[in-house]
Amino acid sequence: MSQSAVQPTPASPTPEGGHLLEVRDLHVEFRTGEGVAKVINGVSYHLDAGETLAVLGESGSGKSVTAQAIMGILDTPPAVIRSGQIRYQGRDLLTQSEEQRRQVRGTEIAMIFQDALSALNPTFPVGWQISETLRQRAGMSRGNARQRAIELMELVKIPAAANRLGDYPHQFSGGMRQRVMIAMALALNPKVLIADEPTTALDVTVQAQIMDLLADLRRDLRMAMILITHDLGVVAGVADRIAVMYAGRIVEHADVRSLYKSPAHPYTKGLLESIPRLDFHGQHLSTIRGLPPNLMRIPSGCPFHPRCPYVQQVCVDVVPHDLVLGDGRTSACHFAQEVRDDRAR
């Protein structure tokens, strides 16, 4: 199917470490008239074939910016990638030409966005928008592309797909629109799907349907997925691993079970305690005090220290490095072990 013109030849199928996609020590700034905002400050994470990584964080934590950096669709200016690597199948995308990166988009890595209404072009029928990808990127004829577009819409379970080809985005319901988005992203059989808050704009019942659809598609099409979200509830059933972001850093990284069972960063702990749970009765919900930091003036030391219940002098003075806790877990906290073992809180 995906006879894209330039199929990147895998130089070595399992390059160093064997990760399909790897972000290494990425630094991104936004330079505006008001000053420089350090949006990404040394993010590293990786994704293996067929797995789902959830990237969790509040808005402004840099999770979407990292994803856009991977896709190569950051607006520059104001965004500037200061340093770091984004390795896909062993090659650093950041050293590639714009044309090479364009070839990767859609065929290798595809992305779906939060608000499908604004992410779809309002003046073209959805069928046209799906088949545009096929015609432009896979060189399909008009008729073939149309046929394939119907198949894709059926794949994402849009009822009466053939009849809806000529409809415009505003004629679809929110959930159906997001399905159109997904169909469009799947058009070229990407190996990685980045889903940027795919359910945030939707009703709760529809959210579950879309998440189920994504999980099924990922399994059936054997893709890897990066799921960006601020909603811990969404993550649990779908993800294999979770990376928690705060102020442009990964503060904790673990498999889903261990992270839920014993979070090793005070921020993760705070997030977990702020979701209502059925098994704890009568306990009042706690919240994380304070506000996310201003990215033009990130606090000294650990950026979370002004809001942290475990704060010590060392947190104000020294930037914590990733502490390896075994089982591939890391936590960027001076007191990671104490936090992890502190179940009482």
Partner: protein, 322 residues
């Protein structure tokens, strides 16, 4: 017919939508939290922005000069603009008459200086009257909403759809009097009656915004009357945007007055108006171009000054599209 409606038309209201709601959009990064220690007001930011703009200073200076000219023309010329001697027809520069004499043998420069008064008077009073109409209509429509808003918004649509020049011609043809005061009043009235709609729309939308604010809800809960809420709480919020629009409108009104006088249906002799002088200068441009060029330059610079001033202030207050 597209003669002097263009400035208002270029500001498409739909062109001012905010940026998309993407939480990580770059222009919102700095705003994710409150900056501690340094409170910043919109007016303060705008002023800091304006101070650096040469256009702001140039247009302000021009506005001041032309205002002084309108108030005390004798400061700028010693000559009497009514002192016209046919023997000096199209004579070159001499003595105080730095631009020479026109077809009637009047001092071209002196007439241009004295022309500022009628222009500014008409411009300022039309803008004032426009402001009153627009504030009333916009306030009623925005504050009370519902059917009042529906009716008034339709009225605005209809008036906005009337071609300004055609309507002004039809209206002004009804004014037979040649008395200077009556004609000035008529031109002011016609311009205000036809030109209040853009400002009213601006007022209406800022009233609607102000109405949603918490302190207005608080005032209402404390039992403040509608009129008190409108006067004390909402009016101050609508003044700044209204004044910006009115500054631009003032420039357009000056241009409109000159155009009507140029056509012979606005102000008439013996009132000195740039529009009248441009028309007579135009007729005799082959003999001498200065009587055309001098009032044209005065008019163009004055209109430009007001419009650029308003444009610069608005840009400073609305940085979205910079």
């Amino acid at each position: 017919m597209s003669d002097f409606e263009t400035v208002a038309a270029s500001e498409d209201p739909n062109a001012r939508r905010g940026p998309s709601g993407e939480p990580n959009a770059p222009n919102q990064v700095g705003g994710t939290s409150v900056t501690p220690g340094r409170p910043r007001s919109l007016a303060g930011d705008a002023w800091r922005d304006l101070r650096r703009k040469p256009i702001f200073w140039i247009s302000s200076a021009l506005v001041l000069v032309v205002t002084a000219m309108a108030a005390v023309p004798a400061l700028f010329t010693a000559a009497d603009p009514a002192d016209c001697v046919l023997s000096r027809q199209h004579a070159g520069p001499s003595g105080g008459a730095i631009f020479g004499y026109d077809f009637q043998g009047c001092d071209t420069y002196a007439r241009a200086v004295y022309g500022a008064r009628a222009s500014l008077l008409v411009g300022a009073l039309s803008a004032l009257l426009t402001g009153l109409i627009a504030l009333t209509v916009g306030m009623l429509a925005g504050y009370f909403g519902r059917w009042i808003d529906a009716v008034l918004s339709r009225v605005i649509d209809i008036v906005l759809g009337i071609p300004l020049l055609l309507a002004a011609i039809v209206l002004l043809k009804r004014v037979a009097s040649d008395s200077a005061t009556v004609r000035i009043a008529a031109v002011i009235f016609v311009l205000a009656v036809l030109g209040w709609t853009t400002t009213a729309r601006v007022v209406r939308s800022s009233v609607i915004t102000a109405k949603e604010q918490d302190y207005v809800a608080a005032a209402r809960m404390l039992g403040a009357s509608n009129s008190r809420i409108m006067w004390r709480h909402i009016l101050p919020n609508t003044l700044a945007p209204a004044i910006v629009v009115l500054t631009i409108a003032l420039g357009s009104f000056i241009a409109a007055e000159a155009t009507l006088s140029f056509l012979g249906i606005g102000l008439k002799e013996p009132t000195i108006s740039w529009g009248i002088d441009i028309n007579s200068g135009r007729v005799h441009m082959r003999e001498s171009a200065t009587p055309l060029i001098v009032p044209s330059t005065f008019l163009a610079l004055t209109v430009l000054a007001f419009i650029m001033l308003g444009d610069a202030i608005r840009d400073a207050f609305d940085p979205k599209l910079r």
